[in-house]
């Protein structure tokens, strides 16, 4: 490989803390690596394992989950629920042939612009070192009804 590998990353951020931080990085004109594509959800507790696996299956080399600091969740404890899910999922990822390091959960507060930059830069570098994710057989992860729905619309 003569050309440097540029990973594709998905960041799923909660509306109140980590997405606000991502906005703040922008308003502060702080630069970071362009590899990450950010998806907004209301709460990190909305992020289910299937969503993360779907991202890997769709070609992501890494998935970053951003939530509020412990105790700061806008919905009381959605971030703890995210933590539980991510911890469990990380144990299962090797069975799919995915290194657990490809999934990262971080608490990033609404005013933590610098931390956001560091997290994204650090994660990008980490996944760059890991190299591309090569899934042998993409597992079928989504409920069938949705699977059909998606393909019907996109191929239409």
């Amino acid at each position: 490989m003569d050309e440097q590998f540029e990973p594709k990353l998905i960041g799923i951020l909660c509306n109140w803390c980590s997405y606000m931080a991502a906005d703040l990085v922008g308003t502060s004109r702080i630069r970071y690596a362009p590899n990450i594509r950010i998806i907004r959800v209301m709460c990190s507790g909305r992020i289910e394992s299937q969503l993360i696996l779907w991202a890997f299956r769709s070609g992501a080399d890494g998935v970053l989950i951003g939530g509020c600091n412990p105790g700061d969740c806008h919905y009381q404890e959605g971030n703890y629920k995210a933590l539980r899910r991510v911890t469990l999922l990380k144990q299962m990822l090797p069975q799919f042939g995915i290194e657990p390091e490809r999934l990262r959960l971080d608490w990033i507060c609404a005013s933590c612009a610098e931390e956001m930059r560091k997290t994204v830069e650090g994660f990008t570098a980490q996944i760059r070192n890991l190299g591309p994710l090569r899934l042998q057989t993409p597992p079928l992860l989504k409920p069938i009804k949705i699977e059909m729905e998606v393909s019907r619309h996109v191929e239409a």
């Binding site: 630069r31 362009p34 998806i39 769709s58 009381q76 998606v150 619309h153």
Partner: protein
């Protein structure tokens, strides 16, 4: 299930993509024409256009026009953060008779152009995000904003000048106001001051009339010595639980004669008065300061003989007599309030000067903080307004050290905004009251208010010394006879370029402003965020400076950042107006991002029931399915994530929408 069918009557969807230049903010980095060309190639995109400022009137008109002309059924705007203009473009959609939720905002400014170094990379990222949104928007459903009635009434948390002013404005407008103050009296820091800069108005003369108006106002209920312990509900419909701490004097029975204080077994005040920062003394039964509102004494169980031994002759009870106002058995009382809006005005704390041992606070008795000197200067303070050293003598020379705990990377980086001006004020008062030589040690003088620079000029005329330099240390180490038994300030005078030693009798530390020590807990209580340094975060630093990210909760005063009194009062008025704008509506519209449960797929496993943080889901025993109580749902989506069969979903964040967005963001991007 999906919006694809429900909103298009069987016709293929027609998406309009509108890409904003935001002047050069986006277009300076992202190659917008290239992105427009790319957008035109995406499935179902009927039209893609660019414009310099999409949020401007012509931009909005263009979108409306195109919706009609091209028969668009879905709308995509790639511009700034949804936190800024999502509402704007939803309105555009609905004015052009598209359901406003068949719209998706793509944030290519904060998340792309402003954070990406390379123009090509930024362009590619913008394309990917637009592709993601174009895929997502196919699955959007038509939604209606949820509408709820707004309850009257407002809780104001914090009875300083911010809370007082906001409460009065709203009460005068006819709103029911509950003013919650955790100290025994309202008044806050302002009640502690002697004079206010730059006009040298007596703080009490301008504040106490407002305090008594608050007390007498038929629309205001003052809950003093009380704290908010629980907040639930949502905009327009908050439930606030307030704990009234026992003051052991029944507020309703007390007439404010203070005979109980006279009759206390302690003939002389013996215990440090918290309001005087320990400089003055009080009895176990006391009012913190003469103008306190409510004018009701309280008993401190730590020092009261009756509480400690149970063997007090109870002079206070006898003095109160038939009024029977003393109640040693008073307990915490919980008051439940239902209101439409909340103003948080919890104010600030001053920097703890003992964190900087080289300034000698807590080591040398004649090193004071600015706030302590306010009490010494105050006519109702511990010394009756006379400035005396600990040995009872008047100081001959005074050094005032600016920026203690401000503009310092070892403590707080921010400028506390008020210290320069209050230092000047104290310098003036010191000179006036004691005739002492006064030295100001400053980094920069910041006097950017109406009449402030003129006040600084006046001080220069008055012969106060100004030495530019950050003080290295305060010590009692004398090198010359002149320095014996005095405090020596060692400083580099940066204007003459040499180190000086200046002996003084009294040192005043101009301590900076900090968030309240429990600011973090307060943010959790009200579900608001903190910005850097734990100051409460406004919704937008310029355009929504008194709103928070939590709808219906507003900020006033120094809890949001260091502020002087004029700014605090102005902000309190602004917060009051915002709340009135809310509570005077009969109905409030709330983002319809609630959950919904499709009974057809629900297996009745009840996982969601236990996970919902608001107990908004219950189990229907007859139908054997989970049912959502929609008004209680605040839209976190935890149930949707946990549901094993996909029956629980969240509007605006449905599975298909998120799957489509993720796939769109990834597939084909190199």
């Amino acid at each position: 299930m999906s919006g694809f069918n429900s909103s298009t009557n069987g016709h293929p969807p027609r998406i309009g993509v509108f890409i904003c230049h935001c002047g050069t903010n986006i277009a300076g980095k992202v190659n917008v024409p290239e992105v427009v060309e790319f957008a035109r190639t995406l499935p179902f995109v009927a039209v893609a256009k660019e414009y310099k400022y999409m949020c401007s009137d012509p931009g909005q008109e263009m979108i409306k026009h195109d919706i009609q002309q091209y028969g668009l059924t879905r709308l995509l705007v790639a511009a700034c953060s949804p936190h800024i203009h999502e509402e704007t473009f939803r309105k555009v959609a609905s004015e052009a008779s598209i359901n406003p939720f068949l719209f998706q905002m793509v944030n290519i400014r904060e998340l792309v152009s402003w954070v990406t170094e390379d123009g090509h990379e930024a362009t590619e990222k913008a394309k990917a995000m637009i592709r993601a949104a174009a895929k997502r928007v196919l699955f959007h459903d038509e939604l209606e904003p949820k509408k709820y009635p707004v309850k009257p009434g407002v809780v104001v948390v914090g009875g300083g000048i911010a809370g007082i002013h906001a409460a009065l404005v709203m009460a005068d407008a006819g709103e029911r106001v509950y003013l919650v103050e955790r100290e025994p009296s309202i008044g806050g820091h302002m009640a502690m001051f002697d004079k206010t800069f730059p006009t040298l108005d007596c703080a009490a003369c301008i504040l106490t009339p407002k305090m008594t108006t608050v007390r007498r106002h038929p629309n205001i209920t003052v809950l003093s010595y009380s704290e908010v312990v629980e907040v639930s509900g949502f905009v327009g419909n908050f439930k606030v639980k307030v704990k009234k701490k026992p003051r052991y004097v029944v507020e309703e029975k007390c007439v404010g004669c203070y005979e109980c204080i006279e009759a206390c077994v302690f003939k002389e005040p013996r215990f440090p008065n918290e309001f005087d920062l320990g400089l003055g003394k009080r009895k176990p039964i006391y009012v913190p300061f003469p103008q306190a509102v409510p004018p009701v004494p309280m008993i401190d169980p730590e020092t009261c003989i009756q509480f400690r031994t149970g063997k007090c002759p109870k002079g206070c009870v006898n003095a109160c007599g038939d009024r029977d106002g003393i109640d040693f058995d008073q307990k915490d009382e919980i008051v439940e309030l239902e209101v439409g809006g909340i103003i948080v005005a919890t104010g600030f704390d001053t920097f703890d000067a003992s964190r900087l041992p080289y300034y000698g606070y807590g080591i040398y008795p004649n090193v004071y903080t600015g706030l302590e000197v306010e009490r010494l200067l105050n006519a109702s303070g511990p010394t009756g307004g006379e400035v005396l050293l600990r040995n009872g003598q008047k100081p001959q020379s005074v050094g005032i050290i600016h920026c203690v705990g401000s503009r310092d990377e070892n403590t707080n980086r921010w400028c506390s905004r008020v210290c320069c001006m209050y230092s000047l004020k104290l310098a003036h008062l010191m000179k006036e009251r004691t005739g002492a030589e006064v030295y100001n040690f400053y980094i920069d003088i910041r006097a950017p208010g109406k009449g402030y620079e003129e006040f600084y000029d006046r001080l220069l005329q008055e012969g106060v010394h100004f030495i530019r330099g950050k003080v290295a240390e305060v010590s009692d180490w004398a090198m010359t006879p002149d320095e014996e038994n005095r405090l020596v300030i060692r400083v580099e005078d940066t204007l003459i370029g040499m180190v000086r030693r200046i002996p003084v009798d009294m040192v005043i530390l101009s301590v900076g402003l900090e968030p309240q020590r429990d600011a973090q807990e307060v943010t959790k209580l009200f579900n608001i965020s903190c910005s850097t340094g734990n100051w409460f975060m406004e919704r937008h630093p310029k355009l929504a400076p008194v709103s928070t990210m939590s709808a219906g909760i507003y900020l006033a005063g120094a809890c949001q950042g260091p502020k002087d009194i004029p700014d605090t009062v102005a902000q309190a008025g602004a917060a009051a107006a915002e709340v009135l704008a809310l509570t005077h509506k009969s109905v409030i519209e709330v983002e319809p991002n609630t959950a919904f449960i499709d009974e057809r797929y629900c297996s009745g496993c009840q996982i969601c029931v236990g996970l919902c943080p608001y107990s908004a889901i219950y189990y229907d025993e007859e139908k054997k399915v989970a049912v959502l109580n929609e008004p209680l749902c605040l839209g976190c989506g935890v149930c949707a994530a946990a549901c094993p069969s996909g029956a629980a979903q969240q509007h605006l964040f449905q599975d298909e929408q998120l799957y489509a967005e993720i796939e769109g963001a990834l597939v084909g991007v190199g």
